[in-house]
Symmetry: C2
Subunit: 332 residues, 2 copies
């Protein structure tokens, strides 16, 4: 009699929206059956610190340290560092809480000592009591730039007029500039992180694209050389959850970006974008019950579809969506 491990699941995630589903999945799956791959294209160096917003949101969410009001940072947070920095004339547009600073400082120091981002993330996970495996998409530097059509900020330096580092676009400029396209600097030379590779090689039961921003959270993960081939080799279904519900992004600028890129701001638009970008790599698509009328058109793209409530307010919503996804995956 041979013992076979139950198959695991692989979730590809950006920040807040993805982290909600990941928390639901973590309620249902034991640690050895879930690997969460975090987008690191949003990472940046700020005030000398290496900041990994999506990794932090995922870790804080799974640790129960997250601030449910803001969606980022820690709960029970104070802001005296930032207040002090303002007095000294420092840059305060990126909101660094006092507790949050500990994460950034520790990560920056461990990286400076030569550890990989995967090693640092594993160490932080242990310290935060996060049992499920959260890994960066890559240990190599990949940086998302947003190429914009116009300047809405006062910053008129030529370089920054048309090409904004993601956090400058997202936080400093509050997503105001109109996007034209995205660049993932360094991605051609990047390799999937060891944990990402291992999860692919473990032949997961399904690969789940969380309801994250397709352009700046999902595309970086899927465009690391080897990732698409790795997913194909698993023979597992790749299932996406729409981040657009009723024509709105639940969080963040996804809908605004779609409009600026000339796409329909709907779940159908998301499905079309994924199919155009990744062909038959995608096999399933989960849309919200509000968008049920789009189901046939999405199915016509060659995707298995499933309709449920994807708006996750409380933990029950998160767990229900996760259960729905696992059930949908089992049927593909």
């Amino acid at each position: 009699m041979s013992y076979s491990k139950p198959p695991g699941y692989l979730a590809l995630s950006g920040g807040v929206g993805g982290a909600r589903l990941v928390l639901g999945l973590a309620q249902l799956l034991p640690p050895e059956q879930l690997t969460v791959v975090a987008n690191t294209g949003d990472d940046f160096r700020h005030l000398g610190l290496v900041i990994c917003p999506d990794l932090d949101t995922l870790l804080y969410t799974l640790a129960g340290w997250n601030n449910p009001q803001t969606g980022w940072g820690q709960s029970d947070e104070s802001w005296n560092f930032l207040d002090g920095l303002a007095k000294l004339g420092g840059e305060t547009w990126f909101r660094l809480g006092d507790r949050d600073m500990a994460t950034h400082l520790m990560r920056t120091q461990l990286l400076a000592e030569g550890r990989s981002l995967s090693e640092v993330t594993a160490q932080l996970s242990v310290r935060m009591g996060v049992k499920h495996s959260v890994v960066p998409m890559t240990d190599d530097p990949v940086q998302t730039f947003v190429c914009t059509r116009e300047v809405r900020t006062r910053d008129t330096s030529a370089e920054q007029r048309t090409r904004l580092a993601f956090q400058h676009y997202f936080v400093r400029d509050a997503c105001e500039p109109q996007v034209e396209r995205f660049e993932f600097e360094g991605i051609a030379a990047a390799a999937p992180s060891p944990g990402f590779m291992a999860a692919l090689e473990a032949r997961p039961a399904a690969v789940i694209i969380c309801p994250s921003n397709p352009f700046v959270s999902v595309d970086p993960v899927l465009n690391i050389p080897g990732v698409q081939a790795g997913i194909k080799a698993t023979a597992a279904p790749l299932i996406a959850v729409s981040p657009i519900v009723g024509g709105q992004a639940i969080r963040g600028p996804a809908a605004k970006m779609m409009a600026e890129l000339g796409m329909p701001q709907t779940a159908l638009g998301v499905a079309q974008y994924y199919v155009e970008s990744y062909g038959d790599l995608l096999s399933g698509f989960v849309l919200d019950q509000q968008d049920e009328s789009l189901q046939d058109e999405i199915a016509a793209l060659g995707l298995a579809t499933s309709v449920t409530n994807t708006v996750m307010s409380g933990l029950r919503d998160k767990t229900n969506l996760a259960a729905h996804l696992l059930d949908f995956a089992a049927r593909l």
Copy 2:
């Protein structure tokens, strides 16, 4: 008719004790008439941050940001960064407040961008509203090590058994190891900072050694190549204020160090140490009224002496001591 600038004063200072007198001097002297040279031998890199404890204490004190209870750090401080760091398993023996972190981060970043410590200090001074000139003793790396007779900590690595970086001795090990001698690593290659040089060349009316630790606050400043010759060239009196009153150090380990080094733990011991170390460079010595009985013995060392209250509790004490010093200097 020629215009001549009124002569300035130069104060050499460590942390808390020195900063008290400096605050008194700053009440009496306009900014252009006082330059404060801070010891930087205590500076260290910790958690990736460049931390300059004596510079910070001086700046915070002159800015009115200092915490009068602790003697270090800022008032109205919170500790959530350190609490977060403890949760992540980081080193928390050096107490970094949330507001204080802004200073360290900004300094570290500006230094990383290639600014000198003098430039960074000037920028921080402006932002803190400090009008008097506070300059580091040098822009070059000088690091104080405490060579200890025995190990009182659990740290048994051979290197650290007998040679402790100053903050490890001072804060982490709470000054428990018995000292044998001190080393100022890098001092042979260090030059006085531009502001220190300029203040010497401006022919000050007096050079004041603040009531700071002779071994770890004053010696590093006076042992930078060129400093003793520079002081001699000013022809100004060099006047020291005893940090030992009634056989006790007002702050810090000076008295304990003197006992361990086999010196009398008295103002006389301090005067003897300065005369042995610097010969006739020192011309005046100010001792506390509690130690009046030592005045003749100190005078017998060839020093002009003056007795007053040197214990500075409130601002009035600080200003009174400063006024006494300026008056004493005028008579030398």
